[in-house]
């Protein structure tokens, strides 16, 4: 187990612009850290830099107390699970797991004991003699994790490991990975573009955008107090509504930072029906019944909004005119650059 420290890490290819633009981050020993962000934000590149698969252009990487900036991958004490699983197709499941241990020249008995133990944890003992092509997606994923476990790494790196699985299996594997983290207690860094995975699995989340970190913190802290509109909109589904402050009725919000406030952010579940003449006047466009909740898509003039109402049934009709207002504490104020000012 180890703490991972990134000090002003930068990455650029040849003379191009920085892909990773100076990242300072400390991942605690035994922590489950999730890197989340849209495609091309640099989260996978950063993970590969930690793994040693990409050179670090500038800055320093510490794994434990060791400066790992220029260490080869195998000497960093990290193991990686790839998006494609990257199982060696010509080797049996057992040999896939033994490969790294054989290179490390471990004793045969030690190798067998580690493989046996990992297979037991992941419930793949019966698959050890099979070839990867004979396995299902979920089983392959387990083998890929098993291959990482047997090496007893100080840090596990996961690069979008669930993105090739179907929705049901993804939920199941999400739970299993969380359980595995609890059992092993090893530091884990997990890259995903799926905000549900980020919210449900991480002790902390780092939200990436354009090669830098927008905000780091526990999932609920980020959800409840996003540092800016990007984080506010990236976490949460459907995404946070952003409303220009100028058009809002004074009854909706207390103008604490009135001068600087340019945007108001309200999550769909923080919106509710208001008495006529109060809040924002809107028109109902589409209603989606999700069973436990109802999503109501609205328009306030040209501005599309979304409201989540509790319960699967509601008597609203498309085309209906109504007024909506945020619940107390559900209104986030942002300045013109998108930075958060306060939450009311």
């Amino acid at each position: 187990m180890a703490r991972v420290t990134l000090e002003a890490l930068r990455k650029r290819y040849d003379s191009g612009p920085d892909i990773i633009r100076g990242i300072d981050l400390s991942i605690e020993d035994g922590e489950f850290m999730v890197f989340v962000g849209p495609s091309g934000c640099g989260k996978s590149t950063l993970l590969r830099m930690i793994a040693g698969l990409e050179e670090i252009s500038q800055g320093r990487l510490l794994i434990g107390d060791t400066d790992a900036t220029h260490l080869p991958p195998a000497e960093r004490g990290v193991a990686m699970v790839f998006q494609s699983y990257a199982l060696y197709p010509h080797m049996s499941v057992g040999d896939n797991m033994r490969f790294g241990l054989r290179i490390a020249k471990l004793a045969r008995a030690e190798i067998e004991s580690r493989v046996g133990r990992a297979a037991e944890i992941l419930q793949i003992s019966h698959l050890l003699d099979q070839l990867p092509r004979q396995l299902s997606g979920g089983q392959r994923q387990r083998v890929a994790i098993g291959r990482a476990i047997v090496r007893k790494p100080a840090v596990f790196l996961f690069d979008e490991p669930l993105s090739n699985l179907d929705a049901n299996l993804r939920v199941q594997m999400r739970i299993e990975l969380t359980r595995l983290h609890r059992e092993l207690g090893t530091t884990m860094i997990y890259v995903t573009h799926d905000q549900t995975e980020a919210m449900t699995m991480g002790d902390r989340i780092a939200v990436f955008n354009g090669g830098h970190v927008e905000q780091v913190g526990p999932p609920m802290a980020l959800y409840e107090t996003p540092a800016n509109t990007f984080v506010g909109q990236f976490l949460g589904s459907p995404r946070m509504n952003l409303i220009p402050a100028g058009g809002a009725s004074p009854s909706v919000w207390q103008p604490e930072h009135a001068a600087q406030t340019a945007l108001l952010g309200v999550r769909p579940e923080s919106l509710g029906l208001a008495a006529p003449g109060q809040g924002w006047p809107v028109r109902v466009d589409v209603i989606e019944h999700l069973g436990d909740t109802t999503l109501v898509y609205l328009s306030a003039g040209d501005l599309p909004l979304c409201m989540r109402l509790p319960g699967g049934r509601c008597d609203l009709q498309p085309g209906q005119q109504l007024h909506i207002a945020p619940h107390a504490g559900g209104l986030h104020q942002f300045d013109a650059s998108g930075r958060r000012l306060s939450t009311q």
Binding site: G52, L53, A74, M80, F82, A86, L87, F99
Partner: protein, 286 residues
Amino acid sequence: MKRPQIAPYLLHALLVLFFLFPLLFMGVSAFKGDEMQLLRDMGTLRAFLPVGELSLQNFRDVADRTRFDLAFWNSVGVVGLTVLLGLLVNSMLAYALARFRFPGRRWVLGAIVALIVIPFEAIAVPLLLLVNQLPWFSEGQWVQGWLDSYHVQVLPFVANAFSVYLFYQFFVALPKDLEEAAQMDGAGPWRIYWSIVLPLSKPVIATVAVLQFLARWGDLLWPVMVVRGDEHATLPLAMQTFFGQFPRQWGDVMAFALLATLPTLLVFLVFQRWFVRSVISSAIKG
């Protein structure tokens, strides 16, 4: 019910026959012991039919009049070694070009592609002058010139631009994740090449092996230029013995040719599974 399509089958059958005719002619003629009958049949369809007096006389002649066994083993040794060394050298070069980043990589690749279009005939004479000057360590001392040896028939053909190109194309298409996973497992470039890349390259290995084998097995030009006498002669050169005789014994020639062709069929049968797969996958991968 859908009517069976006869036309495509007929066309295929015709094509098969078209390609089989020379083989059939060779096979049938090899068993025609009477040289006069063979010559009479040549102008008619009987040339393709096992008619008349059939015997193993021609094969006996081959065994008696030529050193077929020596030439056969020379061919096996020379061609086998060329193919084996070629697989190693060319795949290693291609792997380095496909995966390592070093200055001049693109130039080397460009030069290799350019070399493919240069026919051997264009470099045969300069190559002959070169090998005639090169030193070789033999019987405890350095000697000048490689002529009349096995290595002169092997070494110039080990490195092959087309083989490098085939390997290169295959390696760049291999998923990089596998090699990165091996890197994470602690494997160095050699280990990755041996344990991961080569075992996954059976289709391209089969393709290169078959193509190189066919090219070397049937080569006559170079052996004619560098080998004199029977000792180092390969099959195509040994077959020339018949063309110096008069009257020319076509039955013997055919028996010799048939025997010389069998190993190529064997090699193709052994590698066929991967070879065909490779050709198919190169067709559908785009």
